[in-house]
């Protein structure tokens, strides 16, 4: 019950925060626009004057990709490097926003003592500023968890190697490929989930003990493994459903005219908005879940 309740409250919390969704989308959009301008400048340079450009809107041409990568690979490589830098900067920006999201959400929890009447922005950015340093440290400490993640995958890879090298069963090789993928994602999500709870705990208790909280979260997740996973995968499935819906809609749009290209782009933005909304939903639901467990000792103690 608690899982479903947390899930729906979390979803509701996210619905009630359109500004927050907008901020997440906007940051995503702005980071990606840098790439847009770089790519657009590059393609204007290498493609827009070629006669091939005339027909490209109607029909793709693999030769164009070959020629661009072969003859302008240096520039393309530079853009790729910039994209990687943007990616890492975006991780930092997300960390910053995460503090804002969690702090704002915490303010409106039923267990919250102070009912804040401040404006959204001031709460959001106060939270973002206050917790950025701690979350950054958490990110560094989390390398321990990621090391564990790598180790588990390596062990599994080794075991699969033993199984598949002795046999010749092609089906087996195929299934083992998928098994490896499942293990990979299961533990990937597991680490993300632990870090989510660690951050939530840090915010709820305004704690500075980052390292301890990370291991507290690991213990918390392990103690309630069924429920934490249940809640997490409800959210993951929601994400998958959103993605499928997007793919279906997108598959109807053939990008053969400029209008359709723009329509596809707008649909894409709606998808990113939905993703931003779900990110908040993830945080809100997990916060509800953690908080509901946290209230019990308070009540019995008081």
């Amino acid at each position: 019950m608690k899982v479903w309740k947390s899930f729906f409250s979390g979803i509701k919390d996210a619905v009630l925060r359109p500004k927050m969704v907008f901020v997440l989308w906007l940051v995503n959009f702005l980071f990606a626009s840098v790439l847009y301008f770089l790519v657009s400048g590059f393609l204007t340079d290498v493609l827009s004057r070629s006669g091939i450009a005339e027909s490209l809107i109607k029909k793709g041409d693999f030769n164009v990709i070959l020629d661009i990568l072969t003859h302008h690979g240096g520039q393309a490589g530079t853009i790729f490097s910039v994209a990687i830098i943007l990616f890492f900067l975006y991780i930092l920006a997300s960390l910053f926003l995460r503090g804002g999201i969690l702090f704002s959400l915490a303010e409106s929890l039923p267990s919250s003592t102070e009912k804040n009447k401040e404006r959204f922005a001031s709460i959001f950015f106060r939270g973002a500023g206050r917790f950025f340093g701690r979350f950054f440290r958490l990110m560094i400490y989390s390398l321990i968890l990621w090391a564990g993640f790598v180790l588990i995958n390596a062990i599994f890879h080794f075991l699969v190697g033993i199984v598949t090298s002795s046999g010749d069963n092609e089906r087996m090789i195929f299934y083992m490929f998928w098994a490896r993928l499942v293990v990979f994602f299961f533990f990937y999500f597991f680490v993300l989930m632990v870090l989510d709870y660690a951050r939530i705990k840090i915010v709820l208790e305004n704690s500075k003990k980052v390292f301890q909280n990370m291991f507290w979260a690991l213990g918390f997740v392990q103690n309630k493994i069924g429920r934490t996973l249940g809640l997490y995968y409800l959210l993951v499935i929601t994400g998958v459903l959103i993605t499928i819906a997007y793919w279906l809609l997108d598959s109807f749009i053939s990008r053969h005219t400029m209008v359709m290209v723009l329509a596809a782009f707008v649909l894409g933005q709606i998808f990113i908005l939905a993703r931003s909304w779900l990110t908040i939903g993830f945080q809100a639901a997990q916060m509800r879940f953690l908080d509901s467990g946290r209230q019990l000792p308070k009540e019995t103690g008081g």
């Binding site: 847009y36 004057r49 450009a53 693999f62």
Partner: protein, 647 residues
């Protein structure tokens, strides 16, 4: 008396010349008994070999290929050149392979076992044992035959570089002592190199293959006989004339599918035999349809497939080092049960390897010395066949909206490659394995495509048919093809072949300038002190405005090829120009009442080997729509990535 002389003459012809029905001159005749030892992963063999000295000089030695010795140790020329890695597979050092010639004797004559020695005609590698010389007690006179009895033991490596075993799958190729080719008064018998294939003479092969009963066998040629033995083995006898090699495979895990293939025009009637791994049963229909496509395409375009059988061997996924390889009337394909239908690797390999029955099997050029004559011709045929059956832009990949043609995949190899080697080179003398591959396959294929575009499809079709007809069951060289091409086209094509086969350069023509400027009214001081201001009324004869339109074409590569140029004006008018393409650049200027819109070299994309298609055309005003389209798509892709991975 006269009659008697005539009779002797006729009889001698009968002994020396092949029977009238034979397609090739039977220089060799191999009768081999082979017994597979599935425990030892080895073949015990006895062969009776007849060789005809078809030259006009006496020959006092024979030279044999002992290919399996390439895998004997890490000092063989093959292993040194390849670094122990071939076709993305490493040699398993627990399972070296070798061939041991246990004895040689002249049939019913003296033992010559002590007269064997290893030689190294290509390098000074004393450790290489892939070529053996046998000194004969007496020379073989012209048009005389010699018959030898040879006992050998072939230990197979774990599948590596085409041959070997994997579990209970056996691909027995290059496995017996095989004679080189006595050509131009000497033996042509090269060592086994990392980047080389094979060369041998035509003749007759009859091979008795003995394997445990549960093994299914496929082999070159037609099955003549099948005998159950008391020791739980079966002996299969295969026979084939007019081939120059013999390969076979055995495994208990094959599903055998036999299907008759017939074609009316030209007449083809052959049995397709598919030996498919049990777990690849899902590939059965793909194999059947692609092989049928292959036989149809090659028969229609070059000449009817003449043999009674064609065997497709599907190796296990982990023995792919044996996959994708041609032998006469038998070839290995490749695939995996989980490869989606839109990824046409299986089809491409099937068509390509089948196609080698034409370019290698019948038109048997020297793969060591002129690899382009088989791989290039076959890649050219393959790309055309793939386009015909699976679409030019979709023949390799057509899955999830991603479309890639075989043409693209060949082109991808060419445009980024270095200028290190010409196409015409001995296979082991290329700068690297990659350079051998690009030049012998894709670049050679594109040179032929370009020749086709230059001469026209019909003329090229006639050239290919004539070359096939004239040279099948023989050993043509590059000049023989050039001669056919010049004869059929009636053109001197030396300029073409000299460039594209003998120099390592590239071809790149570019439109570098497309401008249009309004011609200003006369201004300043002219004859007799007349001063014009540029604003005078224009005379009635002249149009209101005139534009000076300029198009500049630059030759950026070293290779020269005549270029068609198409010029578009804004009112829809088109102009065509031609340029020999010799100078480094050329400029066309047009004074017209309309502006230029665009210019394009090679508008029909005939000069396929041009390394950059983007610069083949130029617009006066940039076209921004695709730029926006792709920039937005990439931006959205990046947004999704950020949101999914870093959100």
């Amino acid at each position: 008396m006269k009659k008697f002389v005539f009779l002797v003459f006729v009889l001698s012809l009968f002994f020396v010349l092949p029977a009238a029905a034979a397609r090739s001159k039977h220089i060799v005749d191999y009768r081999i008994k082979a017994r597979l030892d599935t425990e030892q992963k080895a073949v015990d063999g006895q062969q009776v070999l007849t060789w005809l000295n078809d030259s006009d000089v006496p020959v006092s030695e024979l030279q044999f290929h002992l290919y399996l010795n390439a895998f004997k140790n890490n000092r063989s020329t093959f292993m040194i050149e390849s670094g122990g890695e071939s076709r993305n597979f490493k040699l398993d050092e627990q399972h070296w392979g070798y061939i041991d010639v246990k004895s040689v004797r002249i049939l019913y004559g003296p033992d010559l076992t002590d007269d064997m020695e290893f030689i190294h005609p290509d390098d000074d590698n004393q450790e290489d044992r892939t070529v053996m010389r046998l000194l004969l007690p007496e020379p073989v006179q012209p048009q005389q035959k010699i018959m030898l009895e040879i006992e050998f033991f072939s230990k197979l490596p774990k599948v590596f570089a085409r041959s070997g075993f994997h579990g209970d799958f056996f691909m027995v190729a290059q496995w017996f002592p095989k004679l080189g080719v006595f050509q131009d008064g000497e033996w042509n018998c090269h060592q086994y190199h990392s980047e080389s294939e094979f060369f041998a003479d035509f003749g007759v092969f009859e091979v008795e293959i003995t394997v445990p009963r549960e093994y299914i066998v496929g082999a070159t040629g037609k099955r003549k006989d099948q005998t159950e033995n008391d020791d739980g083995t079966v002996t299969y006898t295969h026979y084939q004339e007019d081939v120059h090699d013999f390969a076979w495979t055995a495994s208990p895990n094959f599903i055998e599918v036999r299907k008759r293939f017939t074609l009316d025009e030209p007449k083809v009637n052959t049995e397709m035999i598919f030996l498919i791994q049990r777990e690849h049963e899902i590939l059965k229909d793909r194999y059947i349809s692609s092989l049928s496509n292959g036989i149809t395409f090659y028969s229609r375009n070059y000449g009817p497939y003449p043999f009674e059988t064609i065997t497709l061997v599907d190796p296990p996924l982990r023995a792919m080092g044996a996959g994708g390889m041609e032998y006469p009337t038998l070839f290995t394909a490749g695939g995996a049960s989980f490869i989606p239908e839109g990824v046409r690797m299986t089809e491409m390999v099937t068509i390509h390897e089948f196609g080698h029955n034409f370019w290698y099997g019948m038109v048997a050029s020297n793969e060591f010395e002129e690899p382009w004559l088989d791989e290039g011709f076959n890649s050219y045929s393959e790309v055309k066949a793939m386009s015909e059956y699976y679409g030019k832009d979709t023949s390799m990949v057509d899955v999830l909206g991603i479309k890639i043609g075989d043409f693209h995949s060949q082109r991808m190899n060419i445009i980024g490659s270095g200028r290190l080697d010409p196409i015409l080179k001995k296979s082991w003398e290329f700068y690297s394995g990659g350079s051998y591959g690009v030049n012998s396959y894709a670049k050679a294929s594109f040179v032929l495509l370009m020749l086709e575009n230059y001469l026209g499809e019909q003329v090229m079709g006639r050239i290919m048919k004539t070359y096939f007809e004239r040279w099948s069951f023989r050993h043509p060289k590059t000049q023989d093809f050039i001669d056919v091409a010049e004869e059929i086209s009636g053109l001197d094509l030396d300029w073409f072949f000299d460039q594209f086969l003998k120099s390592p350069d590239k071809l790149d023509y570019a439109v570098t300038e497309v401008t249009s400027q309004e011609v200003k009214m006369p201004k300043g001081i002219f004859d007799e002190g007349e001063v014009l201001t540029g604003e005078e009324e224009v005379s009635e004869k002249k149009p209101q405005k005139t534009y000076k339109n300029r198009v500049t074409i630059v030759r950026k590569g070293e290779w020269i090829f005549p270029q068609d140029i198409l010029i578009n004006f804004e009112d829809g008018e088109q102009m065509r120009e031609t340029w020999e393409g010799r100078e480094r650049w050329i400029r066309f200027v047009y004074y017209k009442p309309v502006r230029l819109k665009s210019a394009c070299v090679d508008p029909e994309n005939k000069v396929v080997i041009d390394i950059n298609y983007l610069n083949n055309s130029r617009l006066r005003e940039p076209e921004k729509a695709p730029v926006t389209k792709y920039s937005l798509s990439l931006m959205l892709f990046f947004q999704k990535l950020l949101s999914l991975l870093a959100g």
